[in-house]
Subunit: 257 residues, 2 copies
């Protein structure tokens, strides 16, 4: 990893290093005192203060204050970068993008530390227990929802009404529409499921049940659950993990046998 680190670089040196970094698409960190202006979809001003500025290898820009999760100002990837160093008491970096036309400019009055480098990161990122994985788990072990449930097809196209998550039959022969939510089910989840069911009812006379499967049900959605005659089954993500893990191990053992 190429690396440049300098405490209190003079503006002239900082400007040259920034030019070099932008040219070579390097990762840039600046801790310093600056004010920031943004002009675009909205516009904002940020008075002088000490912040961390990050300019990434894809041209995205982040201005972070000492607290808070979100950047106070930013620019998405692929924006054009320019350094401006004229008078000796300030150095300005401008990040512009078209579509939409937006500009963030950072005027530094002082630079405490500056670092540039080329980060190499090919590590794979995996987010587990997505809605798709919950579905996978349920299809593998339908008992997660109900004893005797038999999935019919993964997603039944319902035209403009959208898609169901799982379409199944219960032990009594009723049709069952299962709506999966990774987050606590809301009123929206219920009305969505209700729409699915109404659409299906027009095509068949078989009795239909609607089940919302989620780790939780918002209290505000509870009255609607009864009003729409739907059912709710609690399914914590951990249980899905167990099933998916078990399935993988099963697959492995099958492979080994």
């Amino acid at each position: 990893m190429s690396l440049y680190v300098k405490v209190k670089p003079p503006f002239r040196e900082a400007a040259e290093e920034l030019e070099r970094a932008f040219r070579t698409r390097s990762f840039v960190l600046v801790i310093g005192t600056c004010k920031v202006d943004y002009e675009g979809r909205a516009s904002s001003t940020l008075d002088l203060g000490e912040r961390l500025v990050i300019i990434k290898q894809d041209g995205s820009v982040l201005v972070h204050r000492p607290v808070g999760y979100e950047p106070v100002n930013w620019q998405p990837p692929k924006c054009m970068l320019k350094v401006n160093f004229e008078d000796s008491d300030s150095l300005t970096v401008t990040a512009a993008r078209l579509e939409p036309r937006e500009t963030v400019s950072m005027e530094f009055r002082d630079i405490a530390v500056m670092a540039t480098c080329n980060l190499k990161d090919a590590g794979e990122f995996a987010l587990h227990v997505t809605e798709a994985q919950m579905k996978e788990a349920i299809l593998a072990v339908p008992e997660l929802v109900e004893q005797g449930l038999r999935p019919l097809q993964e997603e039944k196209s319902l035209g403009e009404a959208g898609f169901t998550d799982i379409y199944a039959e219960d032990s009594a022969g009723n049709l069952v529409v299962v709506e999966i939510k990774r987050n606590p089910a809301t009123k929206g989840s219920l009305t969505q499921l209700k729409r699915y069911i109404d659409t299906i009812r027009k095509r068949t006379d078989r009795p239909i049940r609607g089940i919302v499967v989620a780790p939780d049900l918002r209290k505000s959605a509870q009255p609607l659950l009864h009003k729409l005659q739907l059912e709710y089954v609690m399914l914590p993500p951990e249980r899905c993990l167990v099933v998916l893990k078990g399935r993988k191990e099963t697959k492995l053992s099958e492979f080994l046998s």
Copy 2:
């Protein structure tokens, strides 16, 4: 600004400095090779790679890859931090929070640079041309929407139907409900306005017009505009700025005279 910067600190030194930084609620930067695990609402794994880790003075944590606007892993403010340095070939930082119970742990295999400091940032942040400011501009200069428009009251309470943005009368004596959107108006904006109007219609026999004021109208919303018998007036944020600026200058001149 107190400042510690070290290139390639040994893990032992890094661990001590991290302990000190966490204790004193300092701002921490680490550029290094790490893998990251997250466990909470969902769970994720991130294999080894070079990243920037930020730990802020309020206990928020950000793990940034060399590209992309968003952090690949994070932790919101106020989480508990712990350093773990046992074997000599890795150093682990764990950030945990309750409610919801979530944990991010970063295992460093190599630290290229580490910096800690105390950032002081009292600079005021101001986001201009919000929806409220568009409203302010329209109330000051109703012609921005239509010649002869006379605002009646800022927000008319409509019970559960929500709030209108501006309630007015046009030159022909019709009631006018103005819905302001800072962003391009969507189908949702139109149905929302329609709900307002339907609610008002139950209380009066006067003819009512509905106008959506926004910088743009989504193409997908156009058919609905006609179907719901609503009107659309384009209002770019710049024009609001001009009005607000003018108003401020007027105020100033009033003050000076």
